[in-house]
Symmetry: C2
Subunit: 387 residues, 2 copies
């Protein structure tokens, strides 16, 4: 397996952009190529994550269509879908293609356009990540799933509702400093706990917002990276796993097996431990998800994530900085774009360019989950990493 | 690159099956594992092609959900989408993963469930393969595209409408012998030409039917194949290309650049020429598509495909047997399943097991196209191939 590096990256802001997926996807891909100084004839393939453009826009074949749109006509191009983990998987396909020598330079990206849809429309679209024959017919939504998750978490562990709300407080504060974030205003715990109920005990500010957005990175074999950039970021691991496809299949409702499995593989592949990580972007679709995911990733003991959050341990200046971008809760969740959007943010941290910069970042991790934990990807990135 | 073989295959019939994609996909995957004597703990990954389950069933994440459904929980699993070429691309992802040594045993499949939808619903769903901002807004449908294609073909070449209708006559006759085909009755040229108009000059029998269906194959490194089967089928090439994303971007309306490019790569990779092929399953979504695709694949000179069809050259006992399964026109087109469905049929031919068996089959090709030619895959399969 060859070493693989990120040599360019591009994104749109996440927010209400008033454009469709082929436009947004093309913008991110062109910006990534511009950033890396990569010409169209140097790109061997394109993998694009997208989840609900078929439902919301009647647009399929987004990967192949964008390929022609940006001048990559003829390259193998595909859309990759694994619900909210779509572009995490697209990234892994691109990584594998280079690591194994099939290609030298591949673009991985993701895109979603959601805000033109009204709330029932995109709730239905996002609900398609659930197993329709079981969770779908029983009316379980994703806010419903994570409401149960939070109830169970508070029942099992010595944690408080207020501690969990601190996730939203932290991520909204981080988003306020990130020009790419949909929400730019800080909130306090009372505001979170007194916001409109969504799925008890979850309130509005416990839930990530829909957004339009796209992100892309250009990956290249590490030995070719110097011809594109003097600031490559290395991909130290790219892991992908699946888990139970519905809540009734879980052994433990607050543990995502797919996250645990993908993290284990990623740590082994990269030769790192959770405590080695300087910055983490993880899949905080709801406040309890950030707490549980941090535990599943091995950053905290089971049941200790909420306390750690409230104690500031996941803040930008804490020992385990989580979601300095604002995460899904503040940056927003343009579903198919989220996984590569996280990689975009961690790369900025590794390059020391982030608006919410963590000190001395040499190792970063991204965690992208789909459905009720049915699929997950974990990526470890480094720069001049001594591991 | 390691050699890769098909060690097991499974399918549902293509037709009106009254089941959704997670059920149908699971059936095909389980049948493929049973056929190859492959246990769940021997499978390393799953790639599943699906196109419109989000639109028609509100079901996303089909690949990861099926993985858990069939006992493959934990393996990397993803849905792959490239419109009507979705499972052709899934097959190539699986092939690459083994050829490059990432995995040893991978399942590639495809699934679609369409017949529960009414005609306007699935017409809209299939239309999502077109570039919505250009072809979509101008009202161009796929029957419309292939109607223009046929008009142009007849204008440019010394061919007749009757010769093109012979494609439907041949494929319906072939389908009548294939128990997996949706349509089981032969038709004559008059029936085709006098059937209801769809998009002038195309008539109903020039158009493939929607269908429900799923197909899957188990791929393994060739050196591991004997532990599963004494009848492996070898994958000699797996190619994937893109082309113009809308009709106005074509240089020549009756040439699919993605087909030409993928075929060139596949022939080079396999070290074969078009005349070496003993059997071909190609993407006959409409009668003129079979004629043009056969020319793009190099089986006939440009403009000679219609004459050759009418002369019986593409019949089961002709020099270039095309679509002995009945093709999309008679077997049906459960979109996401079509590409691996073609591979299922050619494998049966190579094993000498087909209900419509071509004599002395040693080399076969499949061709799976998406959108108005925006993406295409070509696969070359062989058994004891002396090439």
């Amino acid at each position: 397996m060859r070493n693989v590096s990120i040599v360019g990256a591009g994104t749109t802001p996440f927010g209400e952009l008033g454009a469709g997926v082929t436009d947004l996807g093309s913008r991110a891909v062109v910006r990534a190529m511009d950033d890396g100084g990569v010409a169209t004839d140097e790109v061997d393939a394109l993998y694009l994550g997208n989840f609900v453009a078929g439902i919301l826009e009647g647009q399929g074949a987004v990967g192949p269509i964008v390929a022609d749109e940006v001048g990559l006509t003829g390259v193998p191009a595909a859309s990759v879908e694994g619900a909210c983990a779509s572009s995490g998987i697209a990234f892994r396909q691109a990584y594998n293609a280079i690591a194994t020598g099939v290609h030298d330079v591949v673009i991985a990206g993701g895109v979603e356009s959601m805000t033109n849809a009204d709330t029932p429309e995109f709730t239905r679209a996002l609900g398609s990540a659930a197993h329709q024959r079981t969770e779908g017919t029983s009316g379980l939504t994703f806010p419903g799933f994570y409401g149960m998750y939070l109830d169970r978490y508070l029942h099992e562990h010595d944690a408080t509702r207020e501690q969990v709300a601190e996730v939203a407080v932290k991520n909204r504060a981080n988003g306020a400093k990130n020009p790419r974030a949909r929400f730019q205003e800080a909130v306090d715990v009372e505001t979170v706990l007194e916001s409109d109920p969504v799925a008890d005990p979850l309130r509005l500010y416990d839930c990530c917002p829909a957004a339009d957005g796209a992100a892309a990175v250009v990956l290249a074999a590490s030995d070719l990276a110097p011809s594109f950039t003097d600031r490559p970021v290395d991909v130290l691991a790219s892991a992908h796993s699946t888990g139970p496809n519905a809540a009734h299949r879980y052994d433990d409702l607050t543990t995502l097996d797919a996250t645990v499995a993908a993290a284990d593989r990623a740590y082994e592949e990269a030769g790192v431990a959770p405590d080695d990580l300087d910055v983490i972007e993880l899949h905080d679709c709801f406040t309890p998800a950030e707490v549980g995911d941090a535990e599943d990733l091995g950053l905290f003991e089971k049941g200790d994530g909420a306390r750690a959050t409230a104690a500031g341990e996941t803040a930008v200046d804490g020992p385990h900085p989580i979601n300095p971008s604002g995460g899904l809760l503040a940056k927003g969740h343009p579903v198919g774009a989220t996984g590569v959007g996280q990689i975009y943010e961690v790369r900025r941290q590794l390059l020391g360019d982030h608006e919410n910069q963590v000190e001395d970042v040499r190792l970063g991790l991204t965690h992208n989950a789909g459905g009720s934990g049915v699929v997950c990807t974990v990526t470890v990135l480094g720069r001049d990493a001594d591991v």
